[in-house]
């Protein structure tokens, strides 16, 4: 069995076995989930080791026929971008298991089973090379998240879960239409084969077809990202989800959208992507600023982090649609950064909630005196999130802004406003929660990190520092992929309209 299959199937096996554990032994469910998720993490580390960094294409592929008519394959492979996203998923799942250890007491068995199923779906999305298989994983990952939010969430969990499900599904049925349409034209679901047909000119879309297909894919991805104005499900889902759900949702699930745009939209529909780029960039910038402004006025900690995600993901989309190598690299890096730092923010907010049982910023204050280590970890994460040099987000934001500036300087100016605003709302939040006089509730309930929690905090903080200092270890394989994507958006553009001259200039560089 190939290594890729082991990484993918591990969580599925874990899920099926977890169903067999008796309900009366919750401790076994927890331990089993931890064992499986750690094993999968180790497998994915081996995968990173086996990955050939010198080569930009898809690697370690596996292609088995699943259904004969229509011809659907179980085709998976990994490239320099999906490698890190898989690693991100496998890295965060054990941390989610740990962070839920005590906070989930109700229906423990199902919780961990769904968490493993979710991991399976997410890894599958990033590996699938068959459009049909991609859609299957895309939808499969939806179901466990729906249950995670709906069963173990907070007060308005049902509303949030249903909204999340319907939003995503509405987007994805359009994508399904487009996938079937592509199949009827290309007679294959194989993504590499379709790309090959497009580059060789055996498959040509009219301008109208291309724009409609692009939009069908893009809307599905944009809902997931979420791009303004399709973001309204996100604050609800994030706030209501249990901590582990918020982490997986923010850190990995949102990346399904941006990964989809990068991996499918751009290479498949280059002309449409470039034609729509100005519109999408404007929406992304609105998202950056709007998300930041809304974060600023949030009285609820989780909602603040949720809206900051809208803002951060705006950078990713902006970077992608800058159509510059630097912008794309930055966008991918920002995907990973956001995964680590926002995942950490949700984790730490979860730790605060476990202690004080409130998400209202006003209920805190003076936490720094009660829990100095927790505060320090939170501070590092806050600084990372606002883009302090030497920490991870700085690298991504810098690259995105640089790439954007090469494409369109005005966009970059507006987007950098988001960086400034993020410093405002994050630091202000930090000040209100951690400094000041500790109230009675805080003093009596908030205690410092315990051993299990250290095990969550240390890897996250270590990653923030590592990714901030030695970004090249991640960016080298990413650059190979983004260069290829850029190249693909150049070819096969029979209906290409004249681009603004500065974009041409930037690409020529």
């Amino acid at each position: 069995m190939s290594l890729l299959t082991v990484v993918l199937i591990g969580p599925l096996v874990g899920f099926l076995a977890a169903l067999l554990i008796p309900r009366s032994l919750p401790q076994y469910s927890r331990a089993w989930a931890l064992v499986i998720s750690l094993t999968t993490f180790v497998d994915s580390l081996v995968l990173v080791g086996r990955f050939d960094r010198g080569q930009g294409g898809e690697q370690l592929g596996l292609d088995l026929q699943w259904i004969t008519s229509p011809d659907i394959h179980f085709a998976i492979s990994v490239n320099g971008v999906s490698l890190w996203l898989v690693l991100l998923s496998t890295f965060l799942t054990p941390l989610c298991v740990l962070i839920s250890w005590h906070s989930i007491q109700n229906r423990v068995k199902e919780f961990y089973a769904f968490l493993l199923l979710l991991e399976f779906g997410l890894i599958g999305v990033f590996l699938a090379q068959d459009l049909f298989l991609f859609y299957v994983f895309w939808e499969v990952s939806l179901v466990p998240m729906y249950f995670l939010i709906g069963i173990w969430g907070h007060e308005r969990r049902i509303y949030a879960a249903v909204k999340f499900f319907l939003y995503t599904m509405a987007g994805s049925v359009l994508m399904l239409t487009a996938i079937i349409y592509l199949y009827n034209r290309a007679l294959t679901f194989s993504y590499p084969a379709i790309l090959e047909m497009l580059t060789s000119g055996r498959l040509v879309f009219t301008a109208e077809e291309q724009i409609l297909l692009f939009l069908a894919f893009f809307v599905a991805f944009a809902v997931k990202v979420p791009l303004f104005p399709l973001h309204t499900w996100l604050p609800d889902a994030h706030v209501e989800a249990p901590t582990a759900g918020s982490i997986m949702l923010a850190s990995v699930m949102l990346k399904m959208g941006t990964y989809g745009i990068l991996h499918f939209c751009l290479p498949l529909f280059p002309t449409a992507s470039r034609n729509c780029a100005p519109w999408i960039a404007v929406l992304a910038i609105i998202g950056i600023i709007y998300g930041a402004l809304v974060s600023m006025v949030q009285p609820n900690l989780k909602k603040l982090v949720a809206y900051s995600s809208v803002s951060h993901l705006g950078f990713v989309v902006l970077g992608i649609f800058s159509f510059t190598q630097i912008g794309l690299d930055g966008a991918v890096y920002q995907m990973l950064n956001h995964g680590i730092s926002t995942g950490a923010l949700f984790a730490f907010v979860g730790l605060l909630y476990e202690r004080r049982h409130s998400l209202a910023i006003a209920d805190y204050g003076g936490v720094a005196t009660a829990a100095p280590w927790l505060s320090t970890a939170f501070l590092i994460t806050t600084l990372a999130s606002i883009g302090l040099p030497m920490l991870n987000n700085f690298v991504g934001e810098f690259l995105v802004l640089q790439g954007t500036a090469m494409a369109n300087f005005t966009w970059a100016v507006w987007a950098s406003l988001g960086v400034i605003l993020s410093a405002c709302y994050m630091l202000w939040m930090y000040q209100r929660v951690f400094y000041g006089e500790a109230g009675h509730e805080v003093r009596s309930h908030v205690f410092d990190l315990k051993l299990r929690e250290w095990a969550v905090v240390i890897p996250l903080v270590a990653m923030m520092v590592w990714m901030g200092i030695y970004s090249q270890s991640f960016l080298a394989p990413v650059g190979k992929v983004t260069a290829r994507v850029l190249e693909q958006t150049e070819v096969n553009v029979p209906f290409r309209v004249a681009l603004p001259t500065h974009v041409e200039a930037a690409n020529a560089r």
Binding site: S69, E139, G150, R157, V162, L166, L176, T177, I180
Partner: protein, 486 residues
């Protein structure tokens, strides 16, 4: 070959109907003889009859070809639908044991009527002649009118039965008018001959043919509960005993679709461009009316009734595609739909309690905690009805919309898929109730699963997942059988 000549092969090709009729009659005779204490025997015998008929249907396919001078035809298409309605029959009998016991209504006639109805549906699936279609339709319908009102003391059941009977008779009359017009204008009732007459040199006035096709569509549209002929479905499904409602939503519907496909894809295929817009509109109306009305329901059976209207709409999308791929997609979808819907009804039947007290969606509250197995199976059915991948419902929808796109029905595809998002909302309500609420009266009082119900839940769930993970087996067979004799 003289028309009155009956050969041994003809009888083999007619095997399932014969077995079912004999078994049904035996049950009728046994009813007064057997003590009511041993009433389980009725169910057992009816299962034996259905299993034998299933074997008979498969054996009949070993000798495919026309029977009785071309009145019937045993081909892959007929066999597919015969097997489908027989499986539906088995899955109806399984939960009926417990249901009838609980309502104190165990009799042989329930099972006999069921067998007769299924015999009619087998006949419909195999008929290649408009009169045979009509006879099959009547056998199936009359038995199901009685079944709908089987619980005689229940007011709702009486209403359901009467309504079903009156509207059903109207619909059959429409169908018969259509047959009469065809016979009058072409001089034939054999589908192949009708096709030849329509497309031949001396074709009758297209107005006549169009009118006949429209009348037949009205009649069959009623049977499959397609909009705008769907009015009866919610009341009948709600009033009928739950296992019967399950049966009505899968068996007669599948058989009527078999007839619809056979008539419109053979006899009326030459005027396809004429009826396509009509079916297009009906498909869209069925999906939209069904899904939006289902959103508002609080009674599960009523909700499933509207959902069944919507699903008829999806199958009509496949009919609109007017291609062999569309026919195969419709066949696959009906199989998947039969599994998931019968399974869902079995769960409803399990939970409803004595006198069918608990039928509100709210009564599912906390089922996930009280009866994890029932809840898990129902989850599979709901996800399949929504159309989540790895379930039969997803592949069914996928194939249907793929066929539609191949026939350039882009708008119908987009509208149909958006419809399935609306549908997700009301199916999710059941999941929400089962897993995200605390147990209520209904789930706390629910009795443990009886063996029959357990089988009636697990078998369709296995079927649903099988069709979702390995769809190729069924789809290949459907694809090979979708080329109808013309």
């Amino acid at each position: 070959m003289p028309a009155n000549f009956v050969s041994a092969t003809d009888l083999i090709r007619f095997l399932p109907e014969t077995i079912l009729t004999i078994m049904g009659t035996v049950l009728m005779v046994l009813t007064p003889i057997l003590n009511r204490r041993s009433s389980r025997v009725f169910g057992d015998l009816s299962l034996v009859g259905l299993a034998a008929a299933l074997a008979g249907a498969i054996y009949a396919y070993s000798q495919p070809g026309p029977a009785f001078g071309g009145m019937l035809v045993v081909d892959g298409f007929a066999t597919f639908f015969r097997v489908l309605v027989l499986v539906v029959g088995i899955l109806t009998v399984l939960p009926s044991y417990r249901f009838l016991f609980r309502q104190d209504a165990e009799t042989g006639e329930y099972h006999a009527l069921l067998l007769f109805s299924i015999a009619g549906q087998c006949l419909m699936a195999a008929s290649n002649d408009l009169i045979m279609v009509f006879i099959g339709l009547e056998i199936s319908s009359i038995a199901s009118y009685v079944l709908a009102g089987y619980l005689r003391d229940d007011k709702r059941a009486n209403e359901a039965s009467l309504k079903y009977f009156l509207l059903g008779s109207f619909a059959t009359a429409f169908f018969l008018y259509g047959v009469a017009l065809i016979y009058g204008s072409t001089g034939s009732i054999n589908l192949t001959a009708v096709r030849a007459a329509i497309s031949g040199q001396n074709a009758p006035s297209p107005m006549f043919i169009g009118l006949a096709a429209a009348l037949m569509f009205v009649g069959l549209g009623f049977k499959v509960s397609a909009a705008p002929f769907q009015m009866w479905a919610p009341d009948v499904y709600q009033g009928a005993p739950t296992p019967v409602a399950a049966f009505l939503s899968a068996g007669p519907k599948a058989a009527a679709f078999a007839v619809l496909l056979r008539i419109f894809m053979t006899a009326f295929e030459p005027i396809g461009s004429g009826w396509e817009p009509v079916v297009w509109v009906s498909a869209l109306l069925s999906m939209t009316i069904g899904n939006f009305a289902a959103l508002l329901q609080s009674n599960v059976k009523r909700m499933l009734a509207y959902s069944s209207i919507a699903h008829a709409g999806y199958v009509l999308v496949a009919v609109t595609a007017r291609s062999e791929i569309g026919t195969a997609a419709a066949m696959f979808y009906l199989a998947a739909y039969a599994f998931m819907n019968i399974g869902a009804f079995a769960a409803v039947s399990h939970l409803s309690g004595k006198g069918e007290r608990y039928l509100s969606i709210d009564d599912f509250a906390g089922l996930g905690q009280k009866q994890p197995l029932t809840a898990a199976m129902l989850t599979i059915f709901m996800l399949s009805l929504i159309g989540v991948p790895l379930t039969g419902g997803f592949f069914g929808k996928f194939y249907i919309f793929k066929a539609a796109l191949e026939s350039h029905l882009v708008w119908l595809t987009v509208l149909g898929l958006l419809n399935s998002v609306v549908a997700a909302f009301y199916y999710l309500r059941i999941l929400v109730m089962m897993y995200m609420h605390e147990p209520g009266d209904a789930t706390s009082e629910a009795e443990p699963l009886s063996p029959g119900l357990r089988a009636a839940l697990i078998l369709p769930a296995v079927g649903t997942l099988f069709l979702g993970i390995f769809p190729a087996w069924v789809l290949d067979f459907a694809g090979r059988s979708s080329t109808l004799v013309k």
